[in-house]
Symmetry: C2
Subunit: 221 residues, 2 copies
DNA sequence: ACAACTGGACAGTAACACTATCCAATATTG
DNA sequence: CAATATTGGATAGTGTTACTGTCCAGTTGT
């Protein structure tokens, strides 16, 4: 197919397709003459992926480029797959962040994570921002959140395809990023459910005890 | 304190403080003359909150304004608190999204969520983008992710302060948004841990069976 | 008196993700 | 074969967002 058909098949304007080609997100088509090239199903698929990452996961062009470059150039260990997936979303290496709370939490959990893992810095940053926002979370609650995250991670890893490295990489990179949104939405919905069962119509003047909340919450499992 | 001191206390430039005042994110100081006003600790706290939401949770100015307006004007039911927190992050009401998968999942879970809950639309969108990105997730895995999200939500609701509505609202709004990042970082780290235990050094040429993955994962709980 | 500072208005900037215009070379059509 | 349309590449422009810089009248401190 020609570029205009590619555009028609995906709903993405030709000018934007050219832009993605220029930015290296979309591989060039196979040239059939000096001024023409043809595209195929892989280009349609790649374009859909680019839109899902940009619109859905709010990745920047540079981050999408890292994803697509990784897809075109996979690492050779299974463990490297998820590491690559993570490096896509890592923030800049902030030196001024207090890493002690994050380090303490990870030590308590006993997780096997690298000292320089980008996600470790992200955790430190996120905890620092909780503090800046005036939110305090008890160590017990943090452990609970960690257990919840681990349950998701176990599903993530078990769902990795084991047939081809390409499939595993795609799943690791794209699934990790796009499933973030699913998990966030599910957490909001679960909050609504738990909150409804706990506080059903209660006015803010009434006080709910932690025990009552826990009791009501337990019944929703 | 004067505006320049407020700026010094938070590290935010005076011009930016003026901008936040103009945008209605920061309440005006109490005027002491026709051209001067004084600010206090609540303004410092509010500025730190604004920065945490903008830098940490990547909220837009408009979303931060919704948060601060809600903080200044709280709803009067406990359940409304979390609903308000959720409406802050809801995307636009997209009509063209396939809601059937999200509805099916929620029906299966039996959660008490409103038909028009913004998070429901967000879930539908996120699932649609998974599809567009070429990622398929089994119903069992979705149920697993939902259980993980619910575990987090139970902690969220139990951690709501019950003394004053203001504290509860602040926790609901700010904590929900800022804890998203903590949960995402924890999921990445847990992936690294689970992946390390499952695939330790294995090359992509070797095949790992789902049973082996599940077995290894179980030992990490 | 007089420089310094204050807060408000308004225009300017930088980054980002496109989007529109132009162009030479080629394809298509009558 | 001539006229027209289309292609891909280069380049410049647009709209949005979150600030940031400049100016100014009024007020404050010395």
């Amino acid at each position: 197919m020609r570029m205009s058909e590619l555009s028609g098949a995906t709903g993405i304007p030709v000018a934007t397709v050219k832009f993605y080609l220029r930015e290296g997100l979309l591989p060039a088509g196979t040239p059939i003459s000096a001024t023409s090239a043809v595209y195929d199903g892989t280009h349609v698929e790649r374009l859909r992926l680019i839109r899902a990452l940009i619109e859905g996961a709010a990745l920047s062009i540079a981050q999408v480029r890292r994803v697509t470059q990784t897809l075109d150039n996979p690492p050779d260990t299974w463990h490297g797959m998820l590491g690559t997936a993570q490096s896509v979303l890592c923030g800049p290496a902030d030196e001024g962040v207090e890493t002690a709370p994050a380090d303490a939490l990870l030590r308590r959990l006993g997780w096997a994570v690298g000292e320089c893992s980008p996600a470790r810095a992200d955790l430190a940053r996120a905890l620092a921002r909780l503090d800046a926002g005036g939110i305090s979370v008890s160590p017990q609650d943090l452990d609970g959140y960690a257990a919840s995250a681990q349950a998701a991670a176990v599903i993530d890893v078990a769902a990795l395809p084991t047939d081809t490295p390409e499939a595993a990489l795609r799943r690791a990179v794209v699934g990790t990023v796009l499933l973030d949104n699913v998990l966030i939405a599910l957490r909001r919905l679960a909050q609504e459910d738990v909150s409804a069962r706990t506080f059903a119509g209660r006015r803010t003047s009434g006080a709910a005890t932690g025990a009552a909340i826990a009791e009501t919450s337990r019944s929703t499992g």
